[in-house]
């Protein structure tokens, strides 16, 4: 059973009077039943505070949180029917794995036989049946992560919350568990909110992503929206690796002009200076192109090679395929397809058209 989640006009301030710090400002997010929402942003952007407010571990200064249409602000966490996976896993150290998974069921007075059945099902789903008698301290990081997931899954709650659940795992396990979380979400269909600072997790897991900065949602949209139509330079540079190249210039006579560089790009009509954003994979090397530069760094990563080129307009990074043979010092020409150009106002940093 999937429930909707509405975050309506949430403000949050810590402290009183002049010394109060605003950590969330006018956050409005509507999550449809079964959706997987990602809250992503740098540390201190308010994403964990927002998650705690949904969970009931913290109260908003203003605003409502509605689960299945019902306002839950002021309601203690245990009455909200929400399960949460914590960054440190927060497994109960003195209980066995089975008791950890069954604890919430026991608190809800589920009969023992039924509880045992549910624990066994969840353990089988997560492939931890052989660990049920162990203590958390006897488990590896990946196993603890699975137990933490099992504890949440056994509940069959209205809402799943994830607080950076993969950040304590090594790179290989993280990729594995990421796929596992996606699989479990598809199987259970339970509405989920997932906090991360990792843009790859955000892009791969989310049905929608809210990019946050300074307590404000910068953009809320599908991974495709966020990547291909970033609302401002912050979102544009936060998502994508290597980051999007930003070049400042003035639109003169309908053309984008940077001193000493001829880009041959039609600039949007704007009185101010503008920023041209180009993702590294959209910058191509072209011998005949008028925009010239000199290769300064070549970084092969395996499937791709990143090339840093110094031009009169500034230093830019481009992503090429592994077969590209260039050397530092080579003179190259660069070109951008007009369809791949992102335009931002240079002072407000918001997207133009």
């Amino acid at each position: 059973m999937a429930s909707s989640l509405e975050i309506a006009g949430i403000n949050k301030r810590f402290g009183n009077g002049d010394k109060s710090v605003e950590v969330l400002r006018r956050v409005d997010i509507h999550v449809a039943p079964g959706e997987f929402l990602i809250l992503v942003g740098p540390s201190g952007c308010g994403k964990s505070t927002l998650l705690n407010i949904i969970a009931g571990l913290d109260d908003p200064t203003e605003g409502e949180v509605r689960i299945g249409g019902k306002n839950v602000v002021g309601m203690p966490p245990r009455d909200r029917d929400i399960a949460m996976v914590f960054q440190s896993y927060a497994l109960y150290p003195t209980m066995s794995v089975a008791d950890n998974i069954g604890f919430a069921l026991e608190m809800r007075k589920m009969p023992k036989a039924e509880r045992q059945k549910r624990i066994d099902e969840v353990a089988a789903m997560l492939q931890i049946s052989h660990l049920l008698d162990r203590r958390p301290s006897q488990l590896s990081g990946g196993q603890r992560q699975r137990v933490a997931m099992g504890r949440a899954l056994a509940r069959q709650p209205q809402l799943f919350l994830f607080d950076e659940p993969l950040s304590n795992l090594d790179a290989k396990l993280r990729v594995e568990m990421r796929a596992e979380i996606k699989r479990l979400h598809q199987a259970s269909g339970i509405t989920s909110v997932y906090v991360t600072h990792d843009q790859v997790e955000a892009m791969t897991l989310g049905s929608r992503i809210a990019v946050m900065k300074g307590g404000v949602v910068q953009q809320l949209g599908t991974p495709d929206d966020i990547y291909n139509r970033p609302a401002n330079t912050y979102v544009a540079t936060f998502i994508g690796s290597p980051t999007m190249n930003l070049l400042r210039g003035a639109p003169t006579g309908g053309q984008f002009g940077i001193q000493g560089a001829a880009l041959n790009l039609a600039a949007p009509a704007s009185a101010n200076e503008v920023l041209l954003g180009v993702r590294p994979e959209h910058l191509v090397m072209q011998d005949s192109a008028p925009w010239r530069g000199k290769v300064s760094v070549v970084e092969p990563t395996g499937p791709d090679t990143y090339v840093v080129v110094d031009t009169a307009a500034g230093s830019v990074t481009l992503r090429t395929d592994a077969q590209t043979r260039v050397q530092p010092g080579d003179a190259v020409g660069l070109a951008v397809e007009p369809a791949n150009a992102h335009w931002f106002d240079a002072s407000s940093e918001n997207r133009l058209a």
């Binding site: 969970a55 009931g56 571990l57 203690p76 966490p77 245990r78 929400i82 399960a83 949460m84 914590f86 960054q87 440190s88 896993y89 927060a90 497994l91 109960y92 150290p93 003195t94 604890f103 919430a104 608190m107 809800r108 958390p136 301290s137 603890r144 504890r151 509940r155």
Partner: protein, 289 residues
Amino acid sequence: MTAKPSLFPSVGRVLVYGVLLLAAAFFLLPLYAMLVTSFKDAEEIRTTSLLALPGGLNWSAWSTAWSSACTGVDCNGLRPFFWNSVTMAVPAVLISTLWGALNGYVLSLWKFRGSDVLFGLLLFGVFMPFQVVLLPMSQVLGMLGLSSSITGLVLVHCLAGLAGTTLFFRNYYAAIPKELVNAARMDGANFWQIFWRIVLPLSTPIFMVTLIWQFTNIWNDFLFGVVFSGTESKPITVGLNNLANTSSSVKAYNVDMAAAIIAGLPTMAIYVLAGKFFVRGLTAGAVKG
């Protein structure tokens, strides 16, 4: 000469062990003297040196001290005082320890506005000289109808020990991750369930430390025992004092020594028994999950 380190310990090592052995001997010597004296009879004490071994294991001084030595007018030995101390110390230790655990749980994991100030004020209690509270406390006991009773002594010891036990638990619980409590809250546990099911099971090491601390303090207390007890509720420290001070023609050193050892035995036993738990708890009680 360059000796292999495995064969000959270095000079430094020898020095360290030598000093440690000397220190141990220094602290154990009084106990040894008490022990050997308690097994001698009056004649032997007079004729042999303080440190000489007794001729045999003569338990008569022990049985006198336990059941027939005079402590003032009565001549029933230390036995009634010993049981007074047991009925006083056991509940007082358990209550003050559990109460401290509960206080520490609230002050570290359920912080509220002003909880740190409250904790700061509570710390005054640790440094409060108990002489200050004697008169008001006796008033309070009188009002409660608990004067001269063992129940009154239990109450006094609970209150006197509370600041210390709270401090111990508060500092120990400060290291418990807040996420653990949050996880339990999300799982549907309430305040008490989190305390009993999650927090208390993690507390074995600090529980043992507090138990030892409180038992030693309460068992060895003389001040409260002498001030607040009645004829029927005197603890063993008061009994020992009365026994040693009851004058007779010849000072029965062997009985005094046996009585002193009897009075000190329970605290020693607690150290030996719970001390082991304590060390085990320290190494196994890793909270990190």
